[in-house]
Amino acid sequence: MFYNKDGKTVLLRIVKAVQDNKDYLSEVDGLIGDGDHGMNMNKGFTLFADSIAGKDVSFTKGLDELGNLLFSKIGGSMGPIYGTVFMQMAETGEGYDAIGTLELAAMLRSGLLALYDIVEARPGDKTLVDTLAPACDAMDKDAEEKMNLVAALERMKTAAASGWESTKDMEARFGRSSRLGERSRGVYDAGATSCKIILKAMADGILEVAR
């Protein structure tokens, strides 16, 4: 488990991962989207880094702030999608002092469900849901099995990565790339890619502060 109050470094690690992958994400989006995903994500996450600089924020406080910023400053699809996921995770987790496998699983699952509230995309539609949903499933299973957080996070990363991998062969059905139909196969989905990067950074960040 890790302490909610120690979560700022986790958030900064996520920010850095997004910033480092700005060009890569745009490149992936450029293949079947409009090539701005890295720019959109970088803009939002950098705004967030600026807003928490020098401040002492907890993991859930930060997630709420991040979600709110994406939501109120980024627009597009990413604003509401990641905004919803992060704000819901924050809402679910705001009462936790210590976050273990069970807590994190609950937070992620509620984020995914809130997302389902606003998008029609489900696993198999070549969106970030294909990364997020298997990650949630893995966490839920580990929570059921009462697995410790360190082990659960490793499995969650693996699940996210293979979910991301699976988007390559899919045909896009939502978002910009869906207009391409068959032509959208053979490349990764941009949102799934950023989601994998974020989940990995989150896991690695938590592993650093976990006790």
């Binding site: 090539g35 109120s72 597009g76 999608i81 939502f174």
Partner: protein, 331 residues
């Protein structure tokens, strides 16, 4: 990229600054830098709000004005405005009679509008929506709910704005705007790609000597790529996509809107319209009114869109009502 820009990341904010300076007789800024409203909204009317990504001038802010929209949420280039901006646009438009949000069918806009409405509801503000889906080429007819909104949105704003100005209730405004878009079909032909300022190179390709039939306002692929044709053949192709879909038939009265996508010389839009008019009139369909010009663009894309709306008595009255905005001024 031969463009007039400072920092591409600031282009929307800078554009808005210039826009409100020039059109201070029509529009005013609001506390939210990404929301523009009418300079004076007549008290007691239903508010008409819209919003969308930037780069489509005159859309969206160019349709704020007398007997048109009351407020618009402004997004980044080709990117939906935030839910917060939509919410603030609703508040700016609201005169206590509720707000009609008339916007286009894009996934980002759908999500942000949906969330803004939830937030508005919490604050006791009633918002109803009409989602334009006039682009025939963007999905088959049996999936019409998936179709994108394109230049038909202008006619939706015209009808909805006029209904609101005439004192219509929220439900009446929504019904008029919904009828307008239900009676409207569009298709576009793209001749060159466009370049997002912050990207710096076109993110899709239209090979010289070819054209993309059914292209979307953000370069979304169309239904067919074919060799570049004469204006007459393009007109035929467009008319043949648009007319059968509704279908518009002999005896109908229609409004025709031909919009450039940005960089096509306006002279050529009149050449295209001349061909379109011959085809439509030739089918016994009466053109009651025509709009030709850059009404809904895609940065510096070349090409044009054709929009046809079938009139009934109500729509005719609404379309004929005078209006005054940057994008459309009509006596």
């Amino acid at each position: 990229m031969q463009r007039i820009l400072n920092d591409p990341d600031n282009v929307v904010d800078e554009m808005l600054k210039g826009f409100v300076k020039v059109h201070s007789d029509i529009v005013a800024p609001t506390d939210n830098p990404r929301v523009i409203k009418r300079a004076v909204i007549p008290a007691g009317k239903v508010g008409v709000a819209t919003g969308g990504g930037s780069g489509h001038k005159p859309a969206f802010i160019g349709y704020i004005g007398e007997n048109l929209c009351d407020a618009a949420a402004v997004g980044e280039i080709c990117t939906s405005p935030t839910a917060a901006a939509f919410l603030d646009a609703f508040k700016a438009a609201d005169q206590g009679k509720g707000v009609a949000c008339l916007y286009g069918n894009y996934s980002g806009d759908n999500m942000n509008v949906k969330m803004a409405i939830k937030m508005a509801k919490k604050e006791g503000l009633e918002v109803k929506t009409v989602v334009a889906n006039d682009d025939v080429a963007s999905a088959p007819k049996d999936q019409a709910e998936k179709r994108r909104g394109v230049a038909g949105e202008v006619l939706m704003w015209k009808a909805g704005g006029a209904k609101a100005a005439a004192g219509g209730s929220l439900d009446e405004v929504i019904a008029a705007a919904q009828k307008a878009i239900d009676h409207t079909r569009s298709v576009g032909i793209g001749l060159t790609p466009c370049t997002l300022p912050a990207v710096g190179h076109p993110n899709f390709e239209i090979k010289p000597g070819t054209m993309e039939v059914g292209i979307g306002h953000h370069g979304e692929p169309g239904i067919e790529v074919c060799p570049l044709e004469s204006a007459a053949k393009m007109a035929e192709r467009m008319v043949n996509v648009v007319l059968p879909d509704y279908p518009f038939v002999s005896g109908d009265e229609v409004v025709v809107l031909v919009s450039g996508l940005g960089a096509t010389p306006v002279m050529e839009l009149y050449v295209l319209y001349d061909e379109i008019e011959k085809l439509i009139s030739g089918k016994g369909i009466k053109i009651h009114r025509a709009y030709v010009g850059n009404y809904f663009t895609s940065l510096e894309m070349m090409g044009a869109t054709l929009t046809v709306m079938k009139l009934d008595d109500e729509l005719k009255k609404l379309v004929d009502m005078p209006c005054y905005s940057m994008g459309i001024k009509q006596n």
